[in-house]
Symmetry: C2
Amino acid sequence: MRFARDTDVRPAAPGSWEARIAAGWDIGGNANGGYLLAIAARAMSLALERPDPVTLTAHYLSPGKPGPVRIETQLARSGRRFSTATARLCDASGTPLLQALGTFGELDDEGGPELVESAPPELPPPDACLPRSGPPVSGSGFGERVDLRLHPEDAGFYRGEPSGAPRVRGWFRLPDDEPVDTLALLLGVDAFPPTVFNANLPVSWVPTLELTAHVRARPAPGWLRCAFSTRFVVGGFLEEDGEVWDDSGRLVAQSRQLALVPRPRA
Amino acid sequence: MRFARDTDVRPAAPGSWEARIAAGWDIGGNANGGYLLAIAARAMSLALERPDPVTLTAHYLSPGKPGPVRIETQLARSGRRFSTATARLCDASGTPLLQALGTFGELDDEGGPELVESAPPELPPPDACLPRSGPPVSGSGFGERVDLRLHPEDAGFYRGEPSGAPRVRGWFRLPDDEPVDTLALLLGVDAFPPTVFNANLPVSWVPTLELTAHVRARPAPGWLRCAFSTRFVVGGFLEEDGEVWDDSGRLVAQSRQLALVPRPRA
């Protein structure tokens, strides 16, 4: 249960939590943003005594390296069904890595009006998809921390043949049958390679400024179907929209991140 | 220049700002969420000394009524191009109305790689569209604070004939030729009637939990074309995605909000 262990947080003082960025969650040396957010979210969840992030936003302030971190949480409002808090995650030197704002609750399956204007992505079976590996993650351990399988149509960029469509689809689960809870969904929405790698654009690096995840339901056991797409590379920024569907065919999470599109040097 | 005047903030102490929820910005008695966010954003912009919200998230904690408010801002990180802050907006009794987290910068038009996989909504000319009025806003002043024109195909819900598609398209500007700056865009992304009013669902009230706006560019003068849509009413929540395009055909903002879908009483 490595994800649970590597996102563990311990109370240090009222509103203050100790945790650790474990080794092996990095991509090119920097800890994955979804992993960092999951650590902060676990502290927020404990602070609010609510198990599930319903809507959670992170602004990324500095890259995270393995080592101890501290999370300061602050209650914004405690309500009947939902509670809201802020969190600030800093490294041992006090450098802020992430600032978060989230509303937490307890997700149930009570029903109510439903309307679904979309469908889970169609994917070849996991064994016919490609594991996350290759140049973008070589020398980093992240590919072993998650079990990702990319749709072959969206994996061409690994061999220098981007599909031309800024889209990435695939399967997600945790290794060793570790269940994906609503905190691990935060990892799932930031675990895939950037959509823009499949566009024919001179962009090789897209630092995330902000990520917002909406969690709609606790996932059923099994593989998750994920789809990420970008529609607007405009003004020096791009958005990446994600959908995560569980094995029962239910939408369990949506995400959107805003990333910087570095301008080519003149 | 009523929008600028009614979102004015004055420094009260370091990191503390005074403002006022002006009368007439309400829908059914409660101040519009985009208007509240614009007040908080103005305080954040002044605190950070950065003019433009780049990505800004608000969690709505309590309804806002006309009267004095106070905004506490806190710096999260000051960077070379962007700075990040939190804001908490409380009424005179200290009740928190809104908690925000945003990254601000100075938007320019320097270019860089672009890719647009969508287009501005096609709309009849403003005079062939319908002003925002009718039952959902009767007795409230909001319809006079903004100049909205709804696409006739999306305005049927006013006469009890929803289109069936959870979509709302239309034009937006401020009255009296007041320019729409990047703070007024925050109003624009929350000014239209809920998309779900056009769905055939037993939903008449959708309180917003959270709204995130991404601002890509400063709008050119003139009308803005706006499109809002919902794809997932699932798990007791719905998202509403917005796009705002300026008169030059440029995407200037994207938004997404998460709203609660009250369950019909048993």
